[in-house]
């Protein structure tokens, strides 16, 4: 169940990749469209990175649950981002973890890092509505 890249993801240069442990992550290699100030990525681009990772996590969880190949319709209901340090202007990554997968809604916790997965620059909680 690959996620078709949205025009806005293409605008930001946001894409998916696979982690060492086989889980899908979101990768954002920021350019001018993500720039905030010298060396720093815009917090809005950070939000997009986290939301993308959360969607990937929900799609993977639904697939593992056996929901088939028909892509579900996902709609983000709300999201909160904590900014821990400035996001760098080099490839940034984010991984979503399912807190709870319900019938109609998924609660996802998302972490974002640059070079070191133990040194996060942002973390978020994202609630995603599911229509199968």
């Amino acid at each position: 169940m690959s996620m078709s890249p949205s025009p806005y993801a293409a605008f930001l240069n946001l894409r998916e990749d696979v982690n060492a442990d086989g889980r899908r992550i979101a990768v954002l290699d920021p350019g001018e469209t993500c720039y905030a100030r010298e060396g720093v990525m815009h917090g809005g681009a950070t939000g997009a990175l986290l939301e993308y990772a959360a969607r990937l996590a929900v799609l993977d969880a639904l697939r593992e649950k056996g929901n088939g190949d028909k892509p579900p319709s996902l709609a983000t209901v709300s999201m909160t981002v904590d900014y821990l340090r400035p996001g760098p202007m080099s490839p940034n990554r984010a991984l979503g973890r399912i807190v709870k997968l319900g019938q109609r809604v998924a609660h996802v916790s998302v972490d974002a890092w640059n070079a070191d997965p133990a040194k996060l620059f942002a973390t978020g909680k994202i609630t995603i509505g599911i229509q199968l």
């Binding site: 078709s4 949205s6 025009p7 806005y8 293409a10 605008f11 001018e32 469209t33 993500c34 720039y35 905030a36 100030r37 010298e38 815009h42 917090g43 809005g44 681009a45 939000g47 997009a48 939301e51 993308y52 709609a75 983000t76 209901v77 709300s78 999201m79 909160t80 981002v81 904590d82 900014y83 400035p86």
Partner: protein, 152 residues
């Protein structure tokens, strides 16, 4: 890469808004400032195909809405204090109240409703013409760069 411009060196809010909307992410999204008052700043986001969430719906992506709400708050302390005092985002929450109308511009308003030397508290709304029918609302906490520079 964008030219290195220091927004804090702009002497007035009009100049700061011109700089703010001409740099990097904010400029590339096409966010335009439309006015301001005590503690608030208004913006307009023209609909554009490359800001949508898929090729067929023509609806502005939620991540764009998140970003413009955050951006709309960014320099509202200037509109409240009357001088530049920087507060980067500490945390920000957005409720996506309803699905946007396809091919429709967004009207965005950011407000700083309280601040001190350490924190500024902001809220923002995005709608399509009727503020009582919002597309999304945001609120968050911003933390000052340099508390010693705060003037009451």
């Amino acid at each position: 890469m964008a030219p290195k411009i220091d927004i804090a060196s702009s002497p007035d809010l009009d100049g700061a808004l011109r700089i703010f909307t001409s740099i990097g992410h904010v400029a590339k999204m096409g966010l335009v400032s439309t006015g301001y008052g005590s503690g608030w700043i208004g913006y307009h986001l023209p609909w554009r195909k490359d800001l949508t969430s898929d090729a067929t719906s023509d609806v502005i992506d939620n991540a764009v809405i998140y970003s413009v709400l955050d951006s709309a708050c960014a320099i509202t302390p200037w509109a409240k204090l009357g001088y530049f005092f920087g507060y980067p985002t500490l945390d920000f929450r957005v409720d996506f109240v309803r699905r946007p109308t396809p091919r429709t511009d967004l009207i965005v308003r950011g407000e700083c409703y309280a601040l001190d030397a350490d924190y500024a508290f902001m809220r923002a709304i995005a709608h399509e013409g009727d503020p009582d029918d919002p597309v999304a609302t945001g609120n968050g906490t911003f933390m000052s760069f340099n508390r010693e520079a705060f003037r009451k």
